[in-house]
Symmetry: C2
Subunit: 299 residues, 2 copies
């Protein structure tokens, strides 16, 4: 199986497209990775970038991006609606295929060490790469933002994982981490009764006795006059789409409501789909490299 990692860096620039393009260039130039998407928000003054490829390529491209961003983005002049603490604010590595979470945590440490050594940007490790439980949650790490970071980092408790106890004067600090793939998955129901949708959401949510690693809300699709269960599957390999789909169908049946359709918004790892087809067709011993495209491209 090919080793594939996804990387979703967020940079603190969403207005000047020249700067955004300059930051994307190292990703475009790095062999073994491919830029899949980027989206700038002028209000947030922030750009979310998605690329993927080999583990080594992902680290190299992230370093190149961090280098450009720390040259071109000056946090002392940055304003925008989204909390931020660095020119590159966050860099999560995400296992897609043939790599484990621990491998991605190791990539985070490799990149963090290099960012401090060569760019003098201090790095906090977060989520699955965090060195302490208090650093798992990005919001905790980023609290105080760029403006409060010099003071915050004087506290030994907030010494960075790589670097000295002070932010880079213009590029701030960066959170580098590892996390699971998020699949944005929506299920549409043949009802216009939002209350039914909300009751279903209660049943399927982790906090209410439902599935672990599901974030869900019910909303009205006004143009279709249908209720949608809008979800993030935060662990789509352990909690595959079929289980979510069938549980929603089961709970909806209680109200004589059925599923009209479902949709994946954005990207999904192949393995997350294969888990569902495996369930429905009761596969015995199916391997992803039996898929001809995977046999061709997968190593």
């Amino acid at each position: 199986m090919a080793k594939i990692v996804e990387c979703v860096p967020n940079i603190s620039e969403g207005r000047n497209s020249d700067i955004v393009e300059a930051c994307l260039e190292p990703i475009r130039q790095t062999e073994g990775v491919k830029l899949l998407d980027y989206s700038s928000d002028a209000d947030h003054n922030r750009t979310v970038i998605t690329y993927a490829g080999t583990p080594e390529g992902c680290v190299d491209a992230a370093f190149g991006l961090a280098q450009k961003a720390s040259e071109l983005i000056d946090l002392t002049k940055h304003e925008g609606g989204h909390p931020r603490m660095g020119a590159v604010d966050v860099i999560p590595f995400v296992p897609v295929s043939g790599v484990k979470m621990d491998d991605c945590a190791e990539l985070a440490r490799t990149l963090g060490a290099r960012m401090w050594e060569e760019l003098k940007v201090p790095v906090f490790l977060y989520e699955q790469a965090a060195s302490k439980p208090t650093r798992r949650n990005l919001a905790n790490v980023r609290k105080g933002e760029f403006e409060g970071m010099a003071e915050k980092m004087k506290d030994a408790k907030w010494a960075p994982d790589f670097g000295e106890n002070a932010p880079h004067p213009t590029a701030g600090v960066t959170a580098v981490g590892a996390r699971t793939f998020l699949v944005a998955y929506n299920i549409n129901l043949n009802t216009d009764n939002l209350k039914v949708g909300k009751k279903i959401v209660k049943c399927i949510r982790e906090a209410k006795g439902g599935l672990v690693s599901i974030k869900a809300m019910a909303l009205m699709l006004e143009d279709r006059n249908q209720v949608q269960i809008s979800m993030n599957l935060t662990s789509p390999f352990d909690t595959p789409m079929y289980r979510v789909f069938e549980l929603v169908r089961l709970e909806a049946a209680r109200y004589a409501v059925d599923i009209v359709g479902s949709e994946v918004v954005g990207l999904v790892p192949l393995e997350a789909l294969v888990k569902s087809i495996d369930y429905y067709l009761r596969f015995e011993g199916f391997k992803s490299n039996q898929i001809i495209e995977m046999a061709l491209f997968g190593d």
Copy 2:
């Protein structure tokens, strides 16, 4: 979507591994294609080769293979249990992704022209590339085999599509064509009653009012004490696996029998799987390039 073609040449050598390896070498050396499998049968004195890749790469690799085979394999000295008429006996091109059957028929014509021009091996086009209905069926084309071909080709009715009315003295003639992907798909039942299996097979076969493009037989898995419905899906995009699975389930229920599991033997195109997941999860507008591996490799 990446353009992917599969090619499954059969060469008339299954005993001398040096010759087989020499014939595989052009496939291994051609950029854009990958050797996926090969299997030699000494009794048949024949080797079935599977490779895939870009359309152009598939033609180049097939030509390289035909060149080596016509140098190294002498049909005047060939004996084996399988009917054959050429050093390379058949070369079918198979659409996998992003190409149509017509494109594969065109590849067959390109290769056929080149094999005659550069190797002086006459070529018959067959199956979906056939120039006349009588040439669709490979068995018709090959009838008489190598030994009878000189006589057969004197008849204008059997003039080759490329070349003169006589076989190559040692390399014979080759059938080059285009056909659909075959998926070998088996379904196992929780019964040891072979009669039930045979009744199910009757219901699902094309000839008996079942699904088009299904070839099926029932057999006993002695070690599991279960009946297996063993199938070839000859048009897995039009008649996807889920339809076969659900129809077998439906017919089996008539006998209070259920499906234990199913298995894909060998390779399957991604699109054939996606059609099934699309059905079960009632996808709205899902595209294969939402699969991160396809977004990465599928350009």
